[in-house]
């Protein structure tokens, strides 16, 4: 390994204007002096932006859940869980490997019993998961954010409920946090087992067919009835309905969703029918975040119609031109099976073909979970969760504690409890909340801090590179490999015009770059441009139809963005780390999705 290493956590310099950022995050998320001895990497895949104080919960809770599943439930032999630290608003993580071979052996016995139980009963347990997660979503939707009136409703008295509505503030807020925690436990319940089956097949393919592109493995296992495609499919249906109802003229590129909705309202019965169809599609299919569910401000389609309405004009146009926009699932399934059969046929022996069949079979069994869980967890549930927290923010704003509902996201969740207690007391006593004086300066300061931290260029990793990152379970849990680290270390050897990432979707195109730092600006994308962005989220799928290629700072070949890009037959390079920093809107690019290389032509 090279002598080069990444900066140590203790060597990071303070960002001017961001003094005091530490108070935004829990004490246990701060780098300690002894952390200099360990290797950390920036989880830019999930946390591409500065984490606001409340959103710290999206690292705290997922890591309590995923580690519990690998370390304590399923007893993965070579790895416990993940530790995380936040510095300058960015989340760094490290895995805790199990290095003692005797310990690995002990853990293996339990792993075989426990993981074996899940694998052997996968379909039944997964069906149960589906019910559990939908029940959780129903639970979060049912959480009541109470209204505090002059008097509690009479029914509270005549029903002898026995507690006043200010109590519900605490209970309902706790319930949101508790449900969010539970959701993440369910999210990671099947995750590492699913990835394990995938990695087994992936490694086999890579050994048998070293030239095979990463995406080919995903293509052989891809499901056809993929929940993540549903939002896009719903949009296409709405576009078709607009054409049927003779409303197509209202959907033109660049129009404001609010104006389109108003115009629809003036189109009589046809407009009303379309609006009703929109409402029906929204729940649940518009509960897709424009991000990946880790930031409160990555709003869903349901919260902000910009993304779906940016896609509709093109779909309307295509349908008017007689194009069939439905996914050709039969053809895709045939193609998937043909590819798998051909690779199988290229193997040397019946023995190998037998192993291939087992691994592919297991992989296809677990893949529906891998493909669909994000919709239920990161999108549908999390959209509802942030909506509830925003409602508490609105209550705090109504009570004068905060200036605006979204300011609640600049408080840590334990601080929100404090502010709610303030409201509960003031309402009970007939006095006044004291929070305005306390919280409003804090919110203002944290907004400045977030702004200042957003200019910080986070190193991809910190600390000395460990000798081996080769354990497959650690790699899988961590999401990086020795090659990734080498690429980060070697990036400085490339000339300034080369940006490297993962080859996520094949093909080579040239075009003009459109750099979007804020996912909410996605409506700016124009036909034929190359999208360059920090992260591509599944909900961006619809705009993929009009771009020539996609380049992202983060993401892997299994990311939904990569899957969607392949579906659209569009080149994509993901996980470049630095594309948005090095490419400017208007640059001419060549995107080589075969090799994972982006060249800035000028």
């Amino acid at each position: 390994m090279t002598e080069r290493s990444f900066p140590l956590p203790s060597q990071l310099e303070a960002v001017p204007g961001a003094e005091g950022w530490e108070a935004m995050y829990p004490y246990f998320s701060r780098f300690q002096p002894e952390d200099d001895q360990r290797f950390w990497f920036y989880n830019s895949m999930h946390f591409p932006e500065v984490v606001p104080a409340f959103d710290g919960i999206t690292s705290e809770i997922p890591y309590t859940a995923i580690g519990a599943n690998t370390a304590r439930l399923f007893s993965f032999p070579t790895t416990m869980g993940i530790e995380y630290r936040i510095v300058n608003g960015r989340v760094y993580i490290t895995a805790n490997p199990v290095l003692d071979e005797a310990k690995q052996g002990e853990r293996l016995v339990d792993f075989q019993e426990r993981a074996g139980y899940y694998y052997a009963n996968w379909d039944r347990l997964y069906a149960g998961w589906q019910q559990r997660i939908e029940a959780l979503i129903a639970d979060i939707e049912a959480v009541e954010v109470p209204e505090l009136g002059e008097l509690d409703p009479l029914a509270v008295v005549t029903g002898a409920r026995g507690f006043a509505s200010n109590h519900l503030l605490r209970e309902s807020f706790h319930r949101c946090i508790d449900l969010y925690s539970k959701m993440w436990h369910h999210h990671t319940e099947f995750l590492m087992l699913g990835y394990g089956a995938y990695v087994v097949f992936f490694e086999f393919c890579k050994q048998a067919f070293p030239e095979m592109g990463d995406q080919m493995v995903a293509r052989m296992v891809a499901g056809m009835d993929v929940t993540m495609y549903r939002p896009d499919d719903e949009l296409k249906k709405l576009a078709a309905l607009a054409v049927d109802l003779d409303l197509a003229d209202l959907f033109v590129e660049g129009s404001d969703p609010a104006k389109v909705l108003a115009a629809l309202g003036e189109r009589g019965d046809a407009g009303a029918r379309w609006l009703a169809a929109l409402e029906a599609a929204k729940d649940p299919w518009f509960n897709v975040s424009v991000g990946d569910g880790f930031y409160h401000h990555h709003l869903s389609w349901a919260d902000d119609l910009t993304v779906p309405f940016a896609a509709l004009p093109r779909y309307v146009e295509q349908i008017r031109n007689g194009e069939d926009l439905t996914r050709p699932t039969e053809r895709l399934a045939e193609e998937r099976d043909r590819i798998a059969a051909e690779y199988r046929g290229l193997l040397d022996s019946e023995e190998e073909r037998g192993a291939f069949d087992q691994m592919l079979g297991l992989c296809r069994q677990v893949f529906p979970y891998i493909e669909s869980h994000k919709f239920y967890c990161e999108h549908w549930f999390t959209t509802r969760f942030f909506q509830k927290i925003r409602a508490f923010g609105q209550l705090l704003a109504d009570r004068g504690v905060l200036l605006a509902a979204d300011d609640v996201f600049h408080l840590r969740h334990v601080e929100v409890e404090d502010a709610l207690a303030d409201v509960m007391l003031a309402w009970a006593s007939g006095g006044t909340e004291l929070g305005a004086r306390h919280w409003q300066p804090i919110v203002a300061e944290r907004k400045r801090i977030v702004e200042a931290l957003s200019t910080w260029s986070a190193p991809p990793a910190l600390g000395a590179v460990p000798e081996a990152l080769n354990d497959p379970a650690v790699k899988m849990l961590w999401g990086i490999t020795q090659e990734t680290v080498e690429a980060w270390l070697g990036a400085e050897d490339d000339d300034a015009s080369t940006v490297r990432g993962y080859a996520a979707s094949p093909g080579v195109v040239e075009g003009v770059a459109r750099v979007l730092l804020n996912v909410n600006d996605i409506g700016q994308i124009r036909e034929g441009e190359i999208l360059v962005c920090p992260v591509t989220a599944p909900s961006w799928g619809p705009v993929f139809g009009k771009i020539a290629a996609a380049v992202s700072d983060i993401g892997g070949t299994m990311s939904h963005a990569a899957i969607v890009a392949r579906e659209y037959g569009m080149p994509a390079v993901v996980g470049t780390g630095t594309a948005t920093a090095r490419i400017s809107t208007g640059d001419r690019l060549r995107v080589d999705g075969d090799r994972g290389v982006v060249t800035i032509l000028g």
Binding site: F204, M216, E342
Partner: protein
């Protein structure tokens, strides 16, 4: 059975005729049988070799005995003896029946091609060459752009004589290959005026991956690619999806027929051609299709030489010059075998299980 006729047309031979027409000749005949386009030609058989060479002597000692008596460790004596042997084989007059048969076959080839002095390639085709077991590759000679019956005869003798090069003799002596079994056929094949040529493997030469066809291509004759005189274009095409990794090189040198009409000259590629791909996508697709047919025909990965003709129309201009089993990776295949497990998810335990308890484990 080994045929006794001195000359056989490609169309009359197949893989079973290695003993008569050598590996190259048999392979070309077999390719024709498989419906693959190869430049027409004939083989001067091992029977002709025996008729011409067997009776020759050096200082009264028959050639096989003379070779068998040599010491491969005594380099100066070996070199002197080989020079003498080659001179005898190259200069001895041909038996009339062999000369007549070769002359007639060349005349027929000229008539078939419509050129009274059709240029041909004259290449040795050893009986033990081209086999996966013992590769003689590179130890014998190839002569390009040979014209006229007399020149063909001369080069046939040179091919025979190449068996007595220091390298060839040393190879046989060190491996204990008996001189009495020695047979050398010679292939005489229509010369293709190649616009582009090169080699292709029906698996990756770098990784052994059988799901791709790897093509190396450059301008002009294939000798530039084989000899390493040029860094060729590289095209790696997936057999499954047709996806291609394309690496177009700057090709500075090419081998071309000498304008005088015989022989080959090595010159610089004109500047405007150097960075252009030497194959069109359609030609690549045709080569891949041919490679897959040849591989399927033989039932094992192949190492193929090919050319794209200068004059033939598109769709009829891709020729194979030879195909032989790939040998480098074949030996490594056995090392990487996977086997089915009791239960599919046992594969997960094998990969993610870490160190195994020494007492064995449940399976």
């Amino acid at each position: 059975m080994t045929s006794t006729v001195p000359v056989l047309h490609f169309r009359d031979v197949g893989l079973g005729d290695v003993a008569t027409v050598g590996g190259k000749g048999a392979s070309l005949g077999e390719l024709l049988r498989a419906g693959i386009r190869v430049p027409t030609g004939f083989a001067v058989t091992t029977a002709a070799f025996r008729l011409a060479v067997e009776h020759l002597t050096v200082d009264g000692v028959p050639i096989p005995a003379r070779v068998a008596a040599l010491d491969p460790a005594d380099a100066p004596a070996l070199a002197a003896a080989c020079a003498e042997l080659r001179a005898v084989v190259e200069s001895a007059p041909l038996p009339a029946e062999v000369a007549a048969a070769v002359t007639a076959a060349y005349a027929a080839l000229c008539e078939e091609c419509g050129d009274a002095s059709q240029p041909v390639a004259v290449r040795s085709s050893a009986t033990s060459e081209d086999s996966a077991e013992a590769s003689f590759a590179g130890l014998q000679d190839t002569y390009l752009w040979v014209r006229g019956a007399d020149s063909v005869l001369e080069h046939v003798r040179r091919c025979w004589a190449s068996l007595y090069s220091v390298e060839s003799v040393t190879y046989r002596l060190r491996r204990g290959i008996p001189e009495t079994d020695l047979g050398m056929a010679v292939v005489v094949q229509r010369m293709v005026g190649a616009r582009s040529s090169g080699v292709m493997f029906t698996r990756s030469p770098l990784s052994g991956d059988k799901s791709v066809v790897a093509i190396d291509a450059s301008w002009g004759l294939g000798s530039a690619v084989v000899s390493g005189d040029v860094t060729p274009d590289s095209f790696v095409v997936s057999k499954v999806t047709g996806e291609m990794k394309r690496n177009v090189a700057t090709k500075t040198r090419w081998h071309r027929p000498d304008p005088s009409g015989s022989g080959v000259v090595e010159t610089d590629v004109p500047g405007e051609m150097q960075d252009r791909p030497s194959l069109s996508d359609a030609e690549i697709a045709e080569l891949v299709a041919i490679a897959r047919r040849v591989e399927a025909h033989y039932g094992c990965p192949q190492d193929i030489e090919w050319a794209v003709g200068e004059t033939a129309p598109a769709g009829e201009n891709v020729f194979l010059l030879q195909s032989r089993p790939e040998t480098v990776w074949a030996a490594k295949d056995a090392a990487r075998r996977a086997a089915p497990a009791d239960r599919p998810f046992d594969h997960v335990f094998n990969l993610l299980g870490g160190a195994r308890p020494s007492e064995g484990r449940p399976s």
